[in-house]
């Protein structure tokens, strides 16, 4: 009750502060629109950003062809056929980064169910993540091919066994009918897999048909950046209370210190949720009026709401952290700028996370913004469901716990 009274009072104060309201609600929209407008031309860029892969097909058979098609259809990898000498020369000259060689006995080995080795050669300085992604795509296509062949082979064996059965059973289980049924099932399994493994591919070129607009990609980043900026209002509010002496009056009142801190944190949590609502509403509805395509909010509304709640919680606890580290008005400004803008930038709020991963390695992972951006990107850009973003939400809750512990440890109640 006391915590809510404090939060209600702080919200009353905030509603009278037009500057803060502008910063919290209008500034993110202005940022998104300005940046999106400036870079809107990039949305029409049709350059192929898929990872190139040169393939030498020494086999030339039906299964090799199926493998090459499978790699191309997996997305993210652009296949270019070459011959052995040219491919090797290009690799040595550094003109290509990777060369996949399909051995001459590939089709026959598959037919005879004998293991066969595909050779993926890459430059020493080739991007490790891209190479790993290409390897996974090739492995996936090869496994599909092997799976299909193995199912067909086993069913054929079953059919042959059935052939020795009485005539009334043979009519019902011919080899052709069983194989047809298996193919249908295999295709159905591909269309609606029971376990859907999705590969993250650097440069995000995997789904070109559904490539998001620049507005779409900028919305999650700027939303996270400005939602975390709400933490600054918590820290400033605590500092103002201490400076004016009202904090002393609150300490003398019959309320616990925990209620006091919860009360000071609650407004930024509520504000952050309202920020999410406003930005997503404007992005979904009002962007159309301004000539921008409406943003996608993904396919899982519950996951989006849960993610917004977790991000808002993490952001509001950061306010306590800043208040515990900063003891003067100048320090509140300095620490806020350092933490909120600094972590926002390295956390992928301005430069997308997949680019930061390549530039900064694991460094962005130290920022809560990184996990918030990844969660929103997964939901809004990749349309992933809730289970796929649980690790990101776990990291955000971990950061929140860390901020609370440090905040309580360092907070100066006197």
């Amino acid at each position: 009750m006391s915590a809510w009274s404090i939060a209600y009072k702080d919200l009353q104060i905030l509603l009278k502060d037009r500057g803060s309201l502008f910063q919290l609600f209008m500034l993110p929209l202005v940022f998104i629109l300005v940046v999106a407008g400036a870079f809107s031309g990039m949305d029409t860029n049709t350059a192929d950003t898929r990872v190139p892969l040169s393939v030498v097909d020494l086999d030339g058979g039906q299964h090799a062809q199926a493998l090459i098609e499978g790699i191309g259809q997996a997305g993210g990898v652009s296949v270019k056929l070459t011959n052995p000498s040219e491919g090797q020369a290009q690799l040595e000259a550094g003109e290509i980064q990777r060369l996949l060689t399909i051995p001459a006995d590939f089709s026959s080995s598959v037919d005879q169910n004998i293991s066969v080795i595909l050779r993926l050669t890459n430059q020493n300085d080739a991007d490790a993540q891209q190479t790993e992604a290409v390897k996974l795509v090739v492995e996936g296509a090869a496994q599909d091919l092997a799976l299909e062949f193995q199912i067909l082979a086993s069913l054929q064996q079953m059919g042959e066994m059935m052939a020795s059965s009485p005539p009334e059973f043979q009519r019902a289980f011919t080899v052709e009918r069983i194989q047809q049924q298996a193919r249908t099932q295999f295709e159905a399994a591909h269309m609606q897999p029971l376990v859907d493994v999705q590969q993250r591919v650097p440069l995000a070129g995997g789904e070109r048909e559904q490539e998001p607009s620049f507005v779409q990609t900028s919305v999650p980043g700027f939303t996270v950046l400005f939602v975390f900026l709400a933490a600054q209002s918590t820290a400033r509010s605590i500092h103002d209370e201490k400076k004016s002496g009202s904090f002393r009056r609150l300490l003398a009142a019959p309320i616990s210190k925990a209620s006091l801190l919860v009360g000071k944190t609650l407004p930024s949590f509520i504000l952050a949720l309202v920020q999410f609502g406003v930005i997503f509403f404007v992005g979904r509805v009002a962007f159309g009026w301004l000539g921008f395509p409406p943003i996608s909010l993904g396919h899982d509304a519950i996951a989006l709401i849960l993610t917004a709640v977790v991000i808002a919680f993490c952001a509001s606890t950061m306010g306590i952290l800043i208040a515990s580290l900063a003891h003067t008005e100048a320090q509140v400004g300095g620490v806020s700028t350092l933490l909120l803008w600094g972590l926002g930038i390295i956390g992928g709020s301005i430069i997308p996370t997949f680019i930061l991963d390549r530039i900064l390695g694991p460094l962005p992972r130290i920022a809560p913004h990184y996990w918030a951006n990844r969660a929103l990107d997964d939901l809004m850009l990749r349309n992933l469901p809730l289970p796929d973003i649980l690790p990101e939400l776990g990291f955000l809750l971990g950061f929140a716990a860390l901020f609370i512990v440090i905040g309580l440890w360092r907070f100066d109640f006197e």
């Binding site: 009750m1 006391s2 009274s5 404090i6 209600y8 009072k9 009353q12 104060i13 009278k16 502060d17 004016s244 002496g245 009202s246 002393r248 009056r249 609150l250 300490l251 003398a252 009142a253 019959p254 309320i255 006197e414």
Partner: protein, 336 residues
């Protein structure tokens, strides 16, 4: 009369610095008790410990019989605190401020509205209740600040320098409010100030506090009686112990001692919060006389100096009041 507040050897340390050095005192039910001392003497630190704002390093206190270590949540309900700072939210109206602080003390609904209206009447702000505090004059802000401490009808009210930066008219209004609260509602009050006039006007008893210690505590009458008929500082070109003994034996003189001269400090603005400084020592020695009767003492001292052909270089007479008591006890002035 039972004691509403009993303080025992209260200590507050910050590292090696001891802000409050084991002070002890009692406040009786219905009493207005003054804590008089210069800024930095430890008054606010003492109040902060008694109201649960900061934890004591050592010692304890009981308020209404409840120990501040074991029953602080009960103690907080009995206490009212009016801090020295204007602990209000300037962009909110006086009413919104008071409603907030009332809710913090568990008031709600009709009771909250009635209490808010009551305290607004006490501090004469009913007509400005719905205006933002930032539009108030300094005196009105001070009164609103006091009102916020009265909402839950505390048994013991701590007023920490409530008149700093206030115009004379508002100051008088605050005095009237304090006296009415004590007289009509029987509220016990601990009043801290470095203005001796306020303490003399409002308080039944006074503790004079300096550098974290209580150096004297009694009724105002008894404290002033320490000075007898007043203090006289006389400056001479040469002094010695024989001369001091001769002066102390004169009719009307209680005692005499060689001391530093009392030089008036430069004028300070109203609400100046700087620490009182030690009086600078000049080259000319000064003898401090405590008089039984200041007029008789002065006549006899001047006659004696004429008889002895001694040249008087300065003469200062301090009326017997709390200011001169403080100066007498500490060698410092309670600076305004």
């Amino acid at each position: 009369m039972p004691a509403v507040l009993e303080v025992e050897k209260l200590v507050k340390k910050y590292g090696d610095f001891e802000a409050v050095k084991g002070i002890s005192f009692e406040v009786q039910e219905g009493e207005v008790f003054g804590l008089l001392g210069p800024n930095g003497a430890g008054k606010t630190q003492t109040i902060s410990m008694l109201t649960g704002v900061i934890a004591p390093t050592a010692g304890t206190a009981r308020i209404g019989g409840h120990d501040i270590h074991d029953e602080m949540s009960t103690v907080k309900k009995l206490n009212g605190l009016v801090p020295q700072d204007l602990a209000l939210y300037p962009t909110l109206s006086a009413r919104s401020n008071l409603e907030f602080f009332g809710r913090i003390y568990g008031l709600s609904g009709r009771e909250l509205k009635e209490r808010v209206a009551d305290v607004l009447r006490i501090v004469a702000l009913s007509e400005r209740a719905d205006q933002a505090v930032e539009t108030f004059s300094g005196g009105m802000k001070r009164r609103a600040n006091i009102a916020a401490g009265l909402l839950h009808q505390p048994r013991l009210l701590f007023l920490d320098e409530p008149t700093v930066g206030v115009d004379p008219q508002s100051r008088n209004h605050i005095f009237e409010s304090v006296m009415r609260l004590n007289r009509e509602r029987g509220m016990s009050i601990v009043y801290t100030s470095h203005y001796m006039e306020e303490v003399e006007l409002l308080c039944n008893r006074v503790a004079i506090i300096d550098e974290g210690r209580i150096i004297a505590m009694d009724t105002i009458k008894n404290l002033i009686a320490l000075l007898g008929g007043g203090i006289i500082h006389i400056g001479l070109e040469h002094v010695n112990e024989t001369l001091v003994r001769q002066l102390s034996a004169l009719p009307g003189v209680e005692s005499a001692e060689i001391t530093a001269p009392a030089v008036p400090p430069p004028p300070a603005g109203e609400g100046d919060l700087e620490l009182a400084e030690r009086e600078p020592v000049t080259a000319e020695p000064v003898i401090k006389l405590v008089a039984k009767n200041s007029q008789q003492a002065i006549v006899n001292v001047i006659n004696f100096l004429n008889d002895e052909n001694l040249t008087l270089t300065s003469l200062k007479i301090l009326e017997p009041n709390l200011e001169s008591v403080f100066l007498h006890l500490t060698g410092k002035k309670l600076r305004e």
